[in-house]
Subunit: 126 residues, 2 copies
DNA sequence: TGGTTTTATAACCACATGGTTTTTATCGTG
DNA sequence: CACGATAAAAACCATGTGGTTATAAAACCA
């Protein structure tokens, strides 16, 4: 198991456009809080809060450079999130979806039972 | 651009363990609300709310089967989310991160300028 | 020392979220 | 028709989130 809380925090962190923009900018290299705040029409404390969220999710780590606290990206949580997504996305996109839609249309007469379809997307179910 | 609001909704929807579990279960095939609610220690309306969130994010669509409203997965938003992630994850994992860390250590003497590092992760050049 | 820069904290606000219970709507069946 | 099952909606509550301004802390510079 991958740790539900980490996934929670990661996806929650990614759910905000400001934070995604911060990550995007951070992908171009380290940046300080004021550097990060500059492009946004938003106060510095607001950015600090966003950074705290990103930090809690493990998506950024921070260094020390005098008064500055340079932010840098951390890829690990992203990998977990991507892994989770990829798992299901592949299944849905490939195996089901189209097939499913077809079956539903064609079988709509036959509709009685509760269990159809093979079912075994991520094995033991974690 | 991919549509910020869709990404917002998608990631937000994925940020809740109950909803991820619902998606996981849904990956095994269609299910009704009561079927989905069963494994959770939670009321039916709570599940209905979660489903509404998933629906708003386009992650599930619903059919009609008498009183039942069978839920089914939709893969499209997942692809967008994965695409977004993959973009950055690759960059961070491969190009930067390690290199970055090394440079920081080695250059820590040299620290004066504001702009170092090549920088062009999601630039127009792609 | 005192001032400036950088960042974090505190206190506050409006609103969204996740849950509850109760009620209502819809449909199938006796 | 009335009942039972399925699902949604309403009303409500506690807590979290995203923002604000004002203040404080930490480090450099004059």
């Amino acid at each position: 198991m991958v740790g539900t809380e980490l996934l929670d925090a990661t996806f929650a962190a990614l759910a905000d456009p400001t934070r995604r923009a911060i990550l995007a900018r951070l992908a171009a290299g380290e940046a300080t809080v004021t550097e990060l705040a500059a492009p946004f029409a938003m106060s510095q404390p607001a950015i600090s809060k966003h950074l705290k969220v990103l930090e809690r999710a493990g998506l950024v780590s921070r260094g020390r450079d005098a008064q500055r606290r340079p932010c840098r990206l951390e890829a690990r949580p992203l990998r977990e999130a991507t892994a989770w997504l990829a798992d299901y996305r592949d299944y849905w996109a490939e195996s089901y979806q189209r097939l499913d839609a077809l079956l539903d249309e064609l079988q709509s007469v036959d509709r009685t039972g509760t269990e159809r379809r093979p079912a075994r997307p991520n094995g033991t179910g974690g």
